[in-house]
Symmetry: C2
Subunit: 291 residues, 2 copies
Amino acid sequence: MEAAVRDFTTDQSCMALNTVTVRKQGDLQAIIDACLRHKIPAIVPWREQVAELGLRTASRAIERAGLVVPGYCRGGMMVADESRLGEARDDNRRAVDEAAELGAKCLVLVVGGLPQFSRPGSAPSKDIGAARALVADEIARLLPYAVKCGVRLALEPLHPVHAANRACVNTLGQALDLCDAIDQTGQGGLGVAVDVYHTWWDPDLANQIARAGAARLHAFHVCDWLVPTRHPLTDRGMMGDGVIDIPRIRGWVESAGYQGFCEVEILSDVWWARSMDDTLHACVRAMREAV
Amino acid sequence: MEAAVRDFTTDQSCMALNTVTVRKQGDLQAIIDACLRHKIPAIVPWREQVAELGLRTASRAIERAGLVVPGYCRGGMMVADESRLGEARDDNRRAVDEAAELGAKCLVLVVGGLPQFSRPGSAPSKDIGAARALVADEIARLLPYAVKCGVRLALEPLHPVHAANRACVNTLGQALDLCDAIDQTGQGGLGVAVDVYHTWWDPDLANQIARAGAARLHAFHVCDWLVPTRHPLTDRGMMGDGVIDIPRIRGWVESAGYQGFCEVEILSDVWWARSMDDTLHACVRAMREAV
């Protein structure tokens, strides 16, 4: 199986940078410029950064730099009470519009946890089952709009540590069940984003990656799980610095037919404190040596 | 379903105290005395606390107090490299011996994560699959000894946030698969401990609790999941203070036939900073109002 894996030791043409990795070191324009310096051919921007630069300006800057946009971060936070549901729906359609304008190959969806965290102001609830049912409804509602705009939706299962406040979709199997229920034929382009940080612990991961196949695998994110982890959101590690067997998971993903970008997404107070060039240099090196 | 649930509002005869909840406020003797003051009829002691008092002394003190011992914390940490495997096996047989001496109804197993964390000194590994295979082998090896000693083993799936350093068994389904593989008939008494903290996020939890049934359900632990969680190990909440729908999960557990103790296990810097009586008073009250 591992023999089929692409060789990243000398070829970084499959590397993408998720801009959150250096979000504290500069704005989107500075990150675009840095991608060129470090020969990173693809970028996955966040909405806040795009909004700061202006959508048109951002889109033109990325195009002028010749960068591919394999994904856009992010839509979601779909769980809300009645009073906030309209806001959530509008927000997600805008995210689709922006993804289309940027030429992004997919819009990543972090679906939201309980309503009081997903859309603050919503009435508090402890019913994660209801949140999950609502997510299914809301994705089904958003999908036709995304199809019309030519944007694929990528559900990202998040680590169960984030179940309450960020995403009630917590395993790849659960995400694929949603895909099968909402887009059985696959014609809607509904798929998943597999992040090693969120999924590495899952005893069923290899099976579910095989089940997903190339048609449902829209994105593959890498970073590492540090021991100890000082913060569940902002203490991710550089690839190779933690305990995840990343090459093995990449082997499963590529054996399932995935040939897309390998996206570095590191939320880390440690790496945010370094310079843009230091952090990107480390990313490029870790892609060669530990992915 | 919920109509079948036992009424805890006026009856605390099903309450058990896991001694870790007040581990910083006093030794095991002090905790035993406090259980009597607060009319808590059952205690689940930790090995360190028993060792500190001396096994015989602890056993007699618990018996003299008339406390039931529904469980003993804990065996496990079975993942080790060759150099540490003998030590792990000896340690687990001793844990079984101690459980038998205390008259504990089960020995809780926290199976261990990767070998370098489970048994420090072991060679580092990133192979969680190998860790899981080893756990299956080691439980199968320990089980006949536990049967001989009259101690039931209770596998505790731990939240995936602990997969690397504490337990590579992370879902109830995975734990039950192990039970079925190792003790198909159930005659070995192999079962599980269900802790709401570790399992509440699991989309398959209701199904797996029903699958477990009374024969496999050896323990039920309660506390709560706080948002935000400041530390994955030592920031658990008092029941009712977090986001877990505890009554719903208890409903599932009791509908599956579980009639055992409901064990309060709160690892919390906040509650450890309060007095023994304050913390236990809050536990008793939360059992009535939020469980």
